[in-house]
Amino acid sequence: MEYTDKNGLAGLEKALVARFQGGDTAAFSGLADLYKDRLHQFILCLLGPDREAEDIAQEAFVQIYKSLPSFRGTSGFGTWAYAVTRNVCRRRLRERGRDAVLFTEERETAADDVPQSGPTQELALESAETRALIRAEIAALSPVHRSVIFLSCWERLSYAEMAEALEIPVGTVRSRLHNALAALAARLKVLAEEEKI
């Protein structure tokens, strides 16, 4: 399923935010329904497989609930919610005594280091088996690459929105996204050559 009706969802989302800010706190459950899987997936991108991912998602929503009254709407709700979620993940890592180094690439890979080719044939994306293999290849990427791929390919955020959600400059968004897609393309090429997809 792709978001074919992003504009429709954006309208609903705006209306829910306005209702909540107008005092109808029950409207928050609508926002949670719209975003629960997406924030959960973003957490999995940042942390990898994590048995507390759902609990962290709950914590992120509680934080969003508390902060939403002061949300000014200068950015989209989603962009802002991703930034809040990212900070909740960072805090959870610190509580676990783990360095939040996952959130930055130690060295932004120079663009020329990245292989520049991908699978030569069309992928059978409607096949569940192919999708499972693709999912595994994405999971094998770094947290930084998984996050930009999710926000861009699934969430369809613009460079500027991604920059805001990830708190990085637009130029960094571009280089990360290029490198992430090139890394995924190289992995898919191997799978295709092995005739797995």
């Binding site: 928050f28 459950s29 663009a111 520049q116 991908g118 994306l125 693709i134 460079y159 090139a182 898919l188």
Partner: protein
Amino acid sequence: MNCLTNAELLDRLFGEAAPESSKETHLAACPACRGRLAALKAATAAASSVQPTPVSEDFTARLMARIGEEAAPARARLGAGFLDRLRPRELAFAAGALALLTFVYFKAGGGPAERAQVLLVMTDGPATPAAIAAPPSPSAAGPDGVLLSDFCVTARCGL
């Protein structure tokens, strides 16, 4: 041959920049650039086909219950107006001050009869002292004579 930069390829793929005719001409003539663009396109299509991992079905119900627990009872018990004005650190300080005052009232008094003449009452506003008719039972106080009100107990838990 001026091949497209990675950023230019990406901008073209995501429609973040208006197409330039010189770049389009180059793309049409350069198999290397077309190959790079096709690789990025294939990766984007593949990534777009993978759905987010869904949460449990009762996620929203549990979330709303959790929000209700964390927000509503505390507000009802303590008074929203007072609570809203305090940050966690101030709340802890207020709790400490209240515990100390309670301690002083009970410790300073002589016999059980004179022990508590005044109790701090929490309302929808700052704590205010109020006279009470009967002193609280001494058994309600801890071993050091400190009687913790519901508020103190709650605040001690780090609410």
